[in-house]
């Protein structure tokens, strides 16, 4: 049902943030994304993984899991931790909201994920952990153009 799938598991160390986003970007490059689309994916993954480290595990050691799937020209990325979970998801999504202002967090994490990806789902149970599922369609403009062309052809036929 998926065209391709990968799984990644690593310790919640901040030095793994770069490892995670570069690995997912390498996987996503199979869809031949633009440089901008690749930067979007890298940034969104970086935000989600940082959230697991700072908020989920609060700098204690834990495991972060990433699953990525390619379905046609869409990449679906699932990032999960078994940390403390989000008490109020609605509040966490709000721009500039942060529970860690003392760590100079900007409160922009979810806002950036939502702006750079097409869809962001937050599945969190307070005390048990958080799972983020993000989706992004690659080469959207190109595909939409093709669909229009097909529609035009259909009209002629």
């Amino acid at each position: 049902m998926y065209d391709n799938e990968m799984k990644l598991e690593f310790l919640s160390k901040s030095s793994n943030e770069a490892f995670a986003r570069i690995t997912i970007a390498a996987f996503a490059s199979q869809l031949d994304p633009t440089i901008e689309e690749l930067a979007d994916i890298k940034t969104a993954v970086s935000e989600a993984v940082t959230n697991c480290i700072i908020h989920g595990y609060e700098d204690a050691e834990g495991i972060i899991k990433i699953k990525a799937r390619l379905i046609k020209n869409t990449i679906e990325i699932e990032i999960s931790d078994t940390g403390k979970g989000i008490e109020n998801v609605e509040l966490a999504r709000k721009p500039l909201y942060t529970t860690k202002a003392n760590l100079e967090r900007s409160g922009m994490g979810f806002t950036i994920m939502e702006s750079f990806m097409d869809d962001v789902e937050i599945d969190s149970v307070f005390g048990l952990g958080t799972k983020i599922i993000m989706k992004k369609k690659i080469k959207k403009h190109l595909v939409e153009l093709k669909e229009e062309e097909f529609a035009g052809l259909g009209g002629v036929g």
């Binding site: 901040s14 930067a39 100079e104």
Partner: protein, 105 residues
């Protein structure tokens, strides 16, 4: 950690050659704060010409340094941000409080 400081006429130029995420931002914060407290610049300039990636941790780091410069009566400026970094800067609205210049050197 690739960070270089140029001190000239009470201006502190911070050249970073690194992807700025939460891991790196913590280190930048420590090093830059150290330089600011010792040199007490009138202006701190972040040169982003060699920064290829930045996420929200960079925004937090910049706001923190902006506050610190204000505290000592100085200012903060960002120069030479590429398109990827510029998008994050604009999205955060940070460009409304910190001047972002193309070629101020």
């Amino acid at each position: 950690m690739n960070i270089n400081f140029i001190k000239q006429d009470k201006q502190l130029i911070v050249e970073i050659t690194e992807e700025i995420d939460h891991h790196v931002a913590e280190k930048i914060r420590r090093k830059v704060d150290d330089e600011i407290t010792r040199y007490m610049p009138r202006k701190t300039i972040f040169d982003f010409s060699r920064v290829t990636f930045m996420d929200s941790a960079g925004i937090g780091m910049l706001i923190g340094r902006y506050k610190m410069m204000r505290l000592i009566g100085g200012s903060l400026e960002i120069v030479n941000a590429g398109s990827t970094v510029s998008r994050i800067l604009e999205m955060s609205g940070i460009n409304k409080i910190i001047p972002i210049e193309k070629m101020a050197m």
